[in-house]
């Protein structure tokens, strides 16, 4: 029974990874690629790690998989925010069909106040 749940979770997780990587290849600019790839691949890998818990039970491997899930869910969005902020500050242009750029408006407002 638990192996069946494990196979289902593993399949869904690998599918999420695959869709995230297709987004990484197909989407038009840095910010779109970042938001497709980071969310899908983070949650897909977390699902693969949960399936490790279902396959092996609460042993050394399962508890380490839980630790690894916690770690990935904290660090991966942080890294994505750091990359997007660095890209915006180093002057990477948005895609020409993008409709809004709130971060640039925020920065202009902050510079006016100072």
């Amino acid at each position: 029974m638990s192996e069946t749940i494990g196979y289902i979770l593993l399949t869904v997780g690998v599918a999420f990874d695959l869709f995230g990587c297709i987004g990484l290849v197909r989407l038009p600019d840095v910010y779109n690629r970042l938001q497709a790839a980071t969310k899908a691949v983070t949650l897909g890998t977390a699902m693969i790690l949960i399936s490790v818990l279902f396959f092996t039970g609460f042993g050394a491997i399962g508890v380490k998989a839980l630790l690894c899930i916690w770690f990935i869910l904290i660090t991966s969005p942080t890294a994505a925010h750091a990359i997007s902020r660095a890209a915006h500050r180093s002057g990477i242009k948005l895609w020409d069909k993008s409709v809004s750029d709130k971060y640039a408006e925020d920065r202009e407002g902050a510079e006016d106040k100072v």
Binding site: V14, L24, V41, T42, L49, A65, C68, S84, S90, I92
Partner: protein, 84 residues
């Protein structure tokens, strides 16, 4: 299990395509970050196959090193020193 490993290898080649092709430096940085997360999933599948906890240790430390490396690259791209 071989199917899952094959699909992850396909994902890794897509990331490598973006590392090679990416028009700007942040594209390459994003692809390297995603590549590291995929390697953690790879280690998880290996630990299911071999039933040894060695690979999960590698996965945890790989996630840590990947995070530190990505933050360092992002700081570098921002064009400032590390101590500002």
């Amino acid at each position: 299990m071989n199917v899952y490993i094959g699909l992850l290898i396909v994902c890794i080649f897509m990331c490598l395509f973006r590392v090679g092709r990416g028009p700007t430096a942040p594209d390459r940085t994003v692809a390297i970050d995603i590549l590291g997360t995929l390697v953690v999933g790879f280690c998880a599948i290996f630990s299911i196959i071999t039933k040894r906890d060695l690979y999960m240790n590698i996965g945890i430390s790989w996630a840590l090193l990947n995070f530190i490396g990505t933050l360092a690259l992002a700081k570098y791209l921002e064009g400032r020193g590390f101590d500002e």
